[in-house]
């Protein structure tokens, strides 16, 4: 292919959204460079470590949103679920004296329960999900206030493991590097076995240099991140957990039957049903996973703030999580997207937020800019859909 042909095909893939999260990742880098030009502290290791630590909890919630968007639905109550989960952890462990692990489990169980109710409403009554999750948002916010009681705020002791895990736990350098090595080795092994099997089956294969280039790019990318964050406190445990969940979800979406069902149902639920996909169970799994991840996000948030209050998971968290999923490139129309859009999306939103704060701009500027970015993302999503159908 000549240069012109390559440019044209890249443009076509960009137009139809076939490049996945890559364009947004480029935008993320640009945002970083712009803020760095405006404030030299922005790309400092210290600031980036803070940024990743702050992004983790809401990022986990955004990962759940990615799943509901994948099946063509939406959950508008994820912030409220995270707030209720935070309240359950704090009140259960501090006021009722439950062991912390039990309070955490109870919070996650709340997520499972909420998701099951949504799934039942959707699969049995065929109510559109934005309606019942909006109702859920109100109900759950009310429950959160009730659980928190009259004081409205509960603090966790700083020495508890959940707080330490979310605030001060960082991967030891050796651990970070071991994980990098394992991931790169695993990725390379997967690629090579795949290639060998394809050659044996006489199927077309990508040129070897592409495989090598991908492995090298992955190794280089991970090494730069780990090395640079390592000049400060390193990779936070909670951020590592978030990235691990994203990678696992990505694997499940792309390489397991469940993931295939999720994409099929999001693309065309009736066609999937006729093909023999257990559509109901797929919806149940997506709603339950979303609410449970939202609850987990709430648990991580309570650890990070060492407190739960009536503001936990309120407006801001909800919108940030949903916006992050869409900004990261997961389609609102269902059946298209990537788990990585939760990571890239939340980093974009968090970068804007941190960057504007560094420029001494207040909350209002942050909301306006994030809103505009979301509007651009939704427009691109709609245009890409049109380009695919044309």
């Amino acid at each position: 292919m000549n240069d012109l042909g390559l440019a044209a095909s890249t443009w076509q893939r960009l137009r139809t959204g076939d490049l996945g999260v890559l364009p947004v990742a480029v935008v993320l880098v640009l945002i970083g460079l712009v803020f760095q030009a405006l404030n030299p502290h922005f790309l400092s290791a210290d600031n980036l470590v803070n940024l990743t630590q702050q992004a983790a909890a809401t990022g986990v919630i955004a990962l759940g949103v990615v799943l509901t968007l994948h099946v063509g639905q939406i959950d508008l109550s994820v912030g409220a679920v995270s707030g209720l989960a935070a309240a359950v952890v704090a009140v259960g462990s501090v006021q009722l004296g439950w062991p912390l692990w039990l309070a955490v489990l109870a919070a996650l169980a709340v997520g499972v329960l909420v998701g099951s109710i949504y799934a039942a409403l959707h699969t049995r009554l065929a109510v559109p999900s934005f309606v019942f999750t909006l109702a859920g948002l109100l109900v759950i916010t009310g429950l959160q206030m009730r659980v928190l009681g009259p004081t409205g705020s509960v603090n966790l002791p700083f020495e508890w493991w959940l707080v330490r895990f979310c605030q001060t736990a960082f991967l030891a350098p050796a651990t970070s590097w071991a994980i990098v090595a394992l991931v790169v080795a695993g990725y390379a092994a997967g690629r090579v076995t795949d290639r060998v099997r394809r050659v044996r089956a006489e199927l077309p294969v990508a040129p070897l240099w592409q495989v090598v280039a991908r492995v090298v790019a992955l190794a280089a990318g991970l090494s730069v991140v780990v090395a640079y964050l390592g000049t400060n406190r390193g990779v936070g445990a909670v951020f590592a957990l978030f990235v691990g969940l994203v990678a696992l979800t990505d694997l499940m979406l792309r390489r397991t039957r469940w993931g295939r069902f999720v994409r099929a149902v999001g693309g065309d639920a009736e066609a999937a049903r006729k093909a023999g996909v257990p559509v109901r169970r797929v919806f149940v799994s997506a709603f339950v996973a979303c609410s449970t991840l939202a609850a987990l996000g709430g648990v991580l948030a309570v650890g990070r703030l060492a407190a739960a209050n009536q503001g936990s998971g309120a407006g801001d968290t909800n919108l940030t999580a949903i916006a992050a999923a869409v900004i990261g490139g997961t389609s609102l129309f269902g059946g298209r997207g990537s788990a990585w859009s939760a990571l890239v999306g939340i980093l974009v939103v968090q970068s804007i937020s941190t960057g504007l704060t560094l420029l001494n701009l207040d909350q209002s500027a942050r909301l306006v800019v994030t809103g505009l970015v979301l509007a651009v993302a939704v427009t691109i999503d709609a245009l890409q859909r049109r380009a695919r159908e044309a």
């Binding site: 089956a201 994409r263 099929a264 999937a272 023999g276 695919r388």
Partner: protein, 246 residues
Amino acid sequence: MTGSTVPVLALLGVSKSYGAARALVDVDLQVHAHEVVAVIGDNGAGKSTLVGALTGALVPDEGEVLVDGSPVTLSDPSVARGLGIAAVFQDLALCANLDVVENLYLGHEAQRGPLLDEVTMEKHAWELLNQLAARVPSVRVPVAALSGGQRQAVAIARSLLGEPRVIVLDEPTAALGLRQTAEFLTLVERLRERGHGVLLTSHSLADVQAVADRIVVLRLGRTNGEFDAARTSYEELLAAVTGIQR
């Protein structure tokens, strides 16, 4: 050709209404192995509804579906599939966002341990499509990027997976060009030779007469005659379809 053997798939007194609209009224039908049955009828005659009842896409209000002579409840297309009844629906039931391989194996994915076995599926996908003489640019393009005829080929290829005993096709030639139609009719004959039962619906009397052993006419939801394809003229069929007495 049909002899007195037990039909592989049969309907007995099946009715189905959509509210006040009676789409099927007391319909009987049999499909044997080694046999091609065609169901013809005008728009809205009930052909797609009949296909739905045979393949588990919908459950009839009254009457029975028999497989090998015993009544079954086809509550879902996957149940029918498990009993060896495969379907190609009029709307093809393909997911436009999935690629050809993903669509072919949807619901029947090959696995290696917990993960999908893409290599096996892709290889077999090519074999299936070549067997149908279907030309697709790549098995890794989303179905949205294929032409109507190519999509039809994918849907038919999918129905052949797992060697079903009966294949039910709703208007299989509607989107096909002349050459593809001829190829499709040859394929149907090959399926019959291999011992499959085939039921297809159509608007095109010519196509049907070329390939069917028996022709069942549906009119306003009722069977309006059953004909031996070899001994029935175009005019007789036309009269039965339109309901015009001569």
